[in-house]
Amino acid sequence: MPETKQFMGMEGDGRNDTSLKANVVLQNRYKILGVIGGGGMGTVYQARDLMFTEAKRLVAIKEMQSAVTDANLRTTMLRNFQREANILATLSHPAIPKIFDFFDLSDRAYLVMEYINGRDLEVILSQTKELPIDKVIDWAIELCDVLDYLHSQTPNPIIFRDMKPSNVMIDALGRVRLIDFGIAKAFVRDDSGKGTMIGTEGYSAPEQYRGEAIPASDIFGLGATLHHILTRKDPRLEIPFSFHERPIPNFNPTVPSRMVSIIEKSLAKDIPDRFQTVPEIRTAFNELRSRPLSMPYATTGSSGQPQQSTNFFDDMTVNSDGDLGGLQPKWKFKTEDEIRVSPTVYRDMVLVGSYDTNMWALKLDSGEQVWKYATRGGIASSPTVDETNKNVVFGSEDFTVYALDVRSGRISWSFQTKDRIRSGARIAHDHVFFGSDDGKVYALNVLNGRMLWAFDAGAPVRSRPVVTEEIIIVPSATGEVYGLSLSGQRKWTYRTRGAVYSSPYFEPNEGSLFVGSSDGFMYAFDAHTGVSSWRFRTGAAVISSPTENKGLLYFGSADGYMYAVNAQTSREKWKFNAEKPIVGSPIVHKDAVYFGGTDEYFYCLDANTGKERWKYKTGGAITSAPTVSNDLILVGSLDHILYAFPLIN
């Protein structure tokens, strides 16, 4: 287990070489046997109490030494220490070690207490691979018992303040013992202004850094301790208070979701969002223990399990009852084969291509058919509308690009390539740009379909090209991403390590380009130079095309997650598990992200948090991006159906 190093600023900390040697006898009574550990503030020895000549009675002796040289301050600290030791001496609880004696000796203070034969949780963590969940729950409940005991002291509750794995011992009988009481606090060295230190305590509640310590602070510490031992991610090595960025199931899928909820609630940064008292959290843990662990617990997002008990789970918002809580599509339109690509809205019409070979034009408000146009191959190319010439442009697996009059569906022009077309077209600079499985990128005159140039990418081009004022970007199935001049000359090439089918996304303010690859990465480029600035690793191929909104980049991966990543830093903001590969592309509308999965669900998530708002089960996998228009969101599914959902807030 990595230790967090502490840098004490200027000079050495002067606590070396001063520990007591074995066989030294203190107070004519305690014979030092050896060092058990070195706490932050001093040394802990194992000693034998010579008062009991017949029995070998072992004690632990904690030595407190202070590096503070100021005599007054020292006296004050010693007095505080003594006072706290006295308080502890009045405590009697099976999980609290008994205190036997307390004395000063040559500028050091000693505390003699019960010797606990056992290991602390930090040691246990380092010596095990996994801890049984029911055992952890038992420990949690025992810790609640002792915290409750401390918090119930009168006149003032005792706040432990320092809950962490190394302060929790499991004794030879398997019982929890809390060690290292806040006594040591008085001896904390004040390093302010002396120099920078690295490393944080990791387990303390935020308010403790404002000098507040209340029962809820110990609840936070308990949550932090449990989070550490369940995830095995040491919070001292992570961003402080970032537990929620390390969801327990990501590291330990065996933890029941109800237990995850209890721990997450106890780790809320704001006090009112936590359990307020130990009995509350203990009840939640007891509840957990009284049910068989294999029982499926209702979680946010999965289909609802009726809740019977009156515990805190009832307060938690269960976002979804599965099928959208009654929300139904405003209309559906069934084509004759799979809908693999995105619909496009043009004024009061929606255009969608189906693998049934037809381009369908429907009324946006009702889904009634306006016209259809049959090609000689399945349509796997999203349509694009040429606003100037009122044409809808798309490709077909019959190798042909079609431009149809958007109102009538009559053909304006067509252009034949040498293989199937699965790339969407981009219209810019009075030209149509698209790729074909014949390995070429074509630039056609948007008015008549006459070819201006073709660029040979050497492998199928299935993503919609990006065209800026200066450059055209097209990825290919070999994994290359090409930057072309407007005249079709190659300006730059970037090589990813897998085929690229994801359409690039261009962010004009920064001039950045984002594209996913089958090598599992999402890449960020400078669109003008092709210099790659970052890549983000997912667990499987990225076929889904990214989209950007308010500095966040959204994309799905075949690893089953929808990701939201900071576009400048590539830092993951959140990810959402859809269980099955996501190849469809997301869109963001207002503060929601919409996408479909191969799990047949159409999802709506909070764009900022990734929390599920609703989902709707279609009859087939969704492989394309939805489209938003006015008050509708449209998405096609492999169940042949185009769905139009009302947008709800």
């Binding site: 690295i198 850094y209 970052w534 830093t569």
Partner: protein, 345 residues
């Protein structure tokens, strides 16, 4: 001396320390009072004729004397200020760099590295710059060793992977995304610090400029700012406990000012075998500036003052020197290091 003459004459600026001899071990703290700024209008960068320049200019230096004396004395040796080639103008990036021990400390634990190349040739190559500030911590000279190692390791790694590739005209520089290479460089530096200075630690903020793109890698609380005439934007996030508490609205900026754990970092080089490196990409508009500095500056001088000084001094080297002066005049409680980049336009 007029700005123009400073740019193109060989005559030393009378304010600069004498040149032509070994730099002093410890530079005298710059503690002349800042002249009170009464001029209401901010001078614009003068338009100058195109200076005579070689077709390629290479300029590199390291504050910590890594190239010459090694690390044995652990003492910062600032170069004379006018040893810089001043590239202020409207064609290429210009930069300044300054460091000082401050008014209180007995050693300078900061390190800095700057490299810039501008080329004009038939082979189209973007301008390339690499700038690093590292602020060391730890007793027994561990701090300055750690920061020196970090600045050197990051500089060397990135010059090798990217700088030389750009110069040689191969495609190697684009094999790995730039911020990933920068992150690798910082991890390499971390490994060096962990291995060679086990009791030391250091921050590290590195900025690479290729054309008008800035790529930033960062660990600790040395900062990079994006400075425009009206606004100052902090690009990096301090990896400090109090900054985190502020982010979570658990502490106010005022409370953080004199918090007992103000100096606690949760992430720094030398801490553990693996560290997370923050990276960031930014396109730089013409005439914008990037300021890289250790906490010796930002702890002493607020953002608005920093912006004012930078606006008042179109020459980035002068701006750097002024910022160091200002930090010292405000107490100079810590070592201070600044690098200022100014985009052409």
């Amino acid at each position: 001396m007029s700005f123009f003459r400073r740019l193109f004459s060989n005559q030393a600026d009378p304010k600069s320390p004498p040149t032509g001899r070994t730099a002093p071990l410890v530079d005298t703290p710059v503690n002349t009072p800042t002249p009170s700024v009464a001029a209401p209008s901010i001078p614009e960068v003068p338009i100058v004729d195109k200076p005579l320049r070689p077709t390629a200019e290479l300029e590199s230096r390291s504050v910590n004397g890594l190239g010459t004396g090694g690390l044995t004395d652990g003492v910062t040796r600032p170069l004379p200020q006018d040893a810089l080639i001043d590239l202020t103008g409207n064609e290429h990036l210009a930069f300044g760099q300054a460091t000082d021990i401050g008014m209180v400390r007995t050693n300078n634990q900061d390190s800095a590295f700057s490299f810039f190349s501008a080329a004009r040739s038939a082979f189209e190559r973007p301008d390339f710059g690499l700038f690093v500030v590292a602020d060391g911590m730890g007793g027994h000279h561990d701090g300055e060793k750690a920061s020196a190692l970090a600045a050197r390791a990051v500089g060397a790694y990135l010059m090798d992977k990217i700088g030389m590739s750009l110069l040689q005209g191969d495609e190697r520089y684009n094999e790995v995304p730039i911020t990933e290479a920068m992150s690798d460089a910082v991890l390499k530096a971390n490994a060096d610090v962990v291995q060679k200075v086990p009791d030391g630690g250091t921050t590290c903020t590195a900025v690479m400029v290729i054309g008008d793109m800035a790529y930033i890698a960062h660990v600790g609380d040395s900062r990079a700012y994006f400075v425009q005439r009206e606004k100052v934007e902090r690009l990096t996030r301090d990896h400090s406990l109090v900054e985190r508490l502020i982010e979570l609205e658990q502490l106010t900026r005022e409370e953080a000012e004199d918090h007992p754990q103000k100096n606690v970092l949760y992430r720094a080089l030398g801490q553990t075998d693996t560290i997370e490196v923050d990276t960031l990409t930014r396109r730089l508009p013409p005439r914008s500036r990037i300021l890289i500095c250790s906490d010796g500056l930002w702890n002493q001088v607020d953002d608005a003052k920093i912006r004012d000084v930078i606006n008042l001094h179109p020459n980035p080297q002068e701006a750097c020197s002024e910022l160091v002066k200002l930090a010292n005049n405000s107490g100079g409680l810590d070592n201070v290091t600044v690098i200022l980049l100014q985009l052409p336009g």
